[in-house]
């Protein structure tokens, strides 16, 4: 819902222009996200933004005392969208704690399942949710001038995707009736089938365990996956040029649009897809096997790679408070004083976190969110990294490291080249994602499409490797293990929308401490103890308003595009209050234009 009120703290000169507008809840994420803004309609920009979460989950509390072997089943339920990413990350952490290594085939099956998850989730989010923000109906409502231009602008890659004009692309994105919108739904179904072939069930896998998988590996299994994958590869050959045309058009049609959602380049990627030739899940070797991942981990600051060392990444994580409803755990028990390499582990590190909830009234000058403020400490500053919605950080980090080179994918140092083979109706195609100038709304969305192609290309490699194993008769997919009395473990991967880590401490064979850190807390967190705003707040604050509507019909499309570019979810309902005691309620659903505002006193 959206609520807009006159700001109580506005100045005389801006009195008629500064309006508070809220979107709460923005659903489909961990907890319940609300975006609270003050919009200066005189300057046509967002003056202030606060990001809040009103739901407390408490996983880190009720994980205590559980059998560690249940960790992936329980933490999978954190999310109804990317539960398998949690299960995978938890299994990585358990593998480390138990000292077990899955057979090659088990690892390839996990990689294939996770690749299908990226293909599925990015597809449905990009085409059926983000696409609505860029569809004909939405653009007509928010920027009629832009729509007129789109209807008259030829699409540069029309030959590749089949839509002659930019306006035709926008029409195809209209919810429920647009041609491409409906095709994308079919693709989502198919990629979900691919996932289920590998991990048994979507979205909470039934065949994923520490030590490997329970999936029965046969030629038929992989053939069923491959036939679907090749249809997706063909699909990507149309989708990628189509989105390039659409997003480039927005820069052309609205000069200055690069400032929408733009923030300092502060990106984190924890890496994805293990290479069983290198990865032994031992902490002492984590630097080496982290760099061998098929999506390279990395911290990127101001466009430069700070590190791609998972050990450094791990030790730099800090969980800060400041505006969150928790008590500080300073002075409480330290679970892990040193990592297995002897490095000191900070009190604010997830291994040592204590969760001490302290519910209270929301106050934007004090505490206003259940989300803590994860930061990455570079030795000097606590950096508010974001994930770029996932793909932007993944591609940026992988490109800069230049380590991935598997034929289907090559990281060059300043770009990522994706080679897709011949498909039923299209010849081989090479795409190149080049490091952009900005970490902004459009580039987060563009990267998502490129990463869909990346995931498909990576899956082709995993398929080749998996079939080699099966043909060699190496059908073992799982290795038994013992749960040690005392151990620690950590897992790093990429949930669909960005960094994901699980930190576990085992004592007396039970979980003594467990902290999952998914991407949305990194993106949606509030101001920390140093006053540094979280990434949503930072990206929305100062965001220029390009929407042509005045405040009475304001939809906040530029703000919504920005928040959604981080891939949280969509606002499902809008309740609007406009000064003078006049309340407007309107349903703001993905069906652009379907709901007329209702006003009542």
């Amino acid at each position: 819902m959206v609520i807009a009120t006159e700001s109580a703290r506005e100045t005389q000169t801006t009195r008629s222009n500064l309006v508070e507008m809220h979107w709460d809840p923005i659903t489909r994420i961990v907890g319940s996200l609300g975006i609270y803004t003050k919009i200066d309609f005189g300057q046509r920009k967002v003056a202030e933004c606060h990001s809040t979460s009103s739901i407390f989950r408490g996983y880190s509390i009720f994980m205590k005392g559980k059998d560690p072997r249940d960790a992936h089943f329980i933490t999978s339920r954190i999310c109804g969208i990317c539960g398998d990413n949690h299960a995978t990350c938890s299994c990585y952490a358990q593998n480390m704690a138990y000292g077990v290594k899955p057979p090659h085939l088990g690892e390839w099956i996990v990689n294939l399942g996770e690749a299908a998850e990226y293909m599925f989730d990015h597809n449905i989010f990009q085409e059926n949710l983000v696409g609505v923000d860029f569809c004909e109906k939405m653009v007509r409502e928010t920027n009629p001038g832009v729509w007129e231009k789109a209807a008259q602008t030829e699409a540069p890659h029309a030959r590749d995707h089949g839509y002659r004009m930019i306006g035709d692309i926008m029409k195809s994105l209209n919810p429920f009736e647009g041609e491409f919108y409906r095709e994308a739904l079919q693709m989502s179904r198919m990629t979900r089938e691919m996932f289920c072939l590998m991990e048994g069930r979507h979205v909470h896998p039934s065949t994923l365990y520490p030590g490997g998988v329970g999936t029965v590996a046969t030629i038929q299994l992989f053939t069923d996956y491959l036939t679907r994958l090749m249809r997706y590869v063909e699909f990507m050959k149309r989708v990628l040029p189509m989105h390039d045309d659409l997003f480039d058009f927005f820069y052309d049609a609205m000069p200055g649009y690069e400032e929408v959602g733009n923030r300092r380049i502060l990106l984190g990627c924890w890496g994805s897809f293990q290479d069983p030739e290198v990865c032994n899940f031992e902490y002492k070797d984590m630097t080496r096997w982290g760099r061998a991942m098929y999506v390279t981990p990395g911290v990127v600051v101001d466009g430069k790679l700070v590190t791609n060392d998972l050990v450094k990444i791990n030790l730099g994580i800090r969980i800060l408070l400041g505006s969150s409803y928790y008590e500080d755990w300073k002075g409480k028990e330290i679970f892990v004083k040193n990592d297995p390499l002897g490095n000191p582990v900070d009190e604010k590190h997830p291994w040592n976190q204590h969760t001490l909830p302290k519910p209270q009234k929301r106050d934007f000058d004090e505490k206003y969110s259940w989300v803590m403020s994860p930061r990455w400490y570079d030795g000097k500053d606590h950096l508010a990294l974001d994930t770029g919605g996932g793909p932007l950080a993944r591609l940026w980090s992988t490109a800069l490291s230049g380590l991935v080179d598997i034929g289907y994918i090559k990281a060059t140092g300043n770009s990522v080249v994706i080679n897709l083979p011949k498909t039923v109706t299209k010849p081989p195609v090479t795409f190149e994602w080049k490091i952009p100038k900005w970490s902004n709304t459009i580039e987060r969305n563009r990267a998502r499409t490129y990463f869909q192609a990346y995931a498909a290309a990576a899956a082709l490699h995993f398929m080749d490797e998996a079939l080699k194993e099966v043909r060699a008769g190496h059908t073992k997919t799982w290795e038994p293990f013992e749960v040690p009395k005392d151990a620690i473990g950590c897992g790093f991967t990429e949930a669909v929308r960005g960094v994901l880590s699980h930190h576990m401490v085992i004592r007396d064979g039970k979980i003594a401490n467990y902290h999952p850190y998914p991407p949305t807390p990194w993106n949606a967190n509030p101001r920390d103890v140093y006053g540094t705003p979280g990434p949503y707040e930072d990206a929305v604050q100062g965001c220029p308003i390009f929407e042509e509507n005045g405040r009475d019909k304001f939809k906040g499309i530029d703000i919504m595009r920005t928040v959604r570019s981080f891939d949280p979810c969509l606002p499902c309902g809008v309740h609007m209050y406009l000064g003078d005691g006049k309340v407007l309620e309107q349903v703001h659903s993905p069906i652009a234009g379907a709901a007329a505002p209702m006003a009542h006193e």
Binding site: D67, R69, P103, G473, T475, K476, P480
Partner: protein, 72 residues
Amino acid sequence: MASHEHDSVTQKGEPGHPENVGKSTTGRGEDVVKKHGKEPGRYEVEEKGAGRPAGKSTLRDQTGVDPKDPKS
């Protein structure tokens, strides 16, 4: 007077008693291996890559009805 070993609905040692809170309730592959040994028809081969285990299987893995592996 109820013993402290019982709550209002369960007795100590029964499923659902608070003593079982946090304990896994499902069967585990590693427990089965400990109790019954490795499944017939499966055997280990040399480790690969980063010390990863590897294994193959005979036709006994697929059927218990007088399986005959091809002559090598």
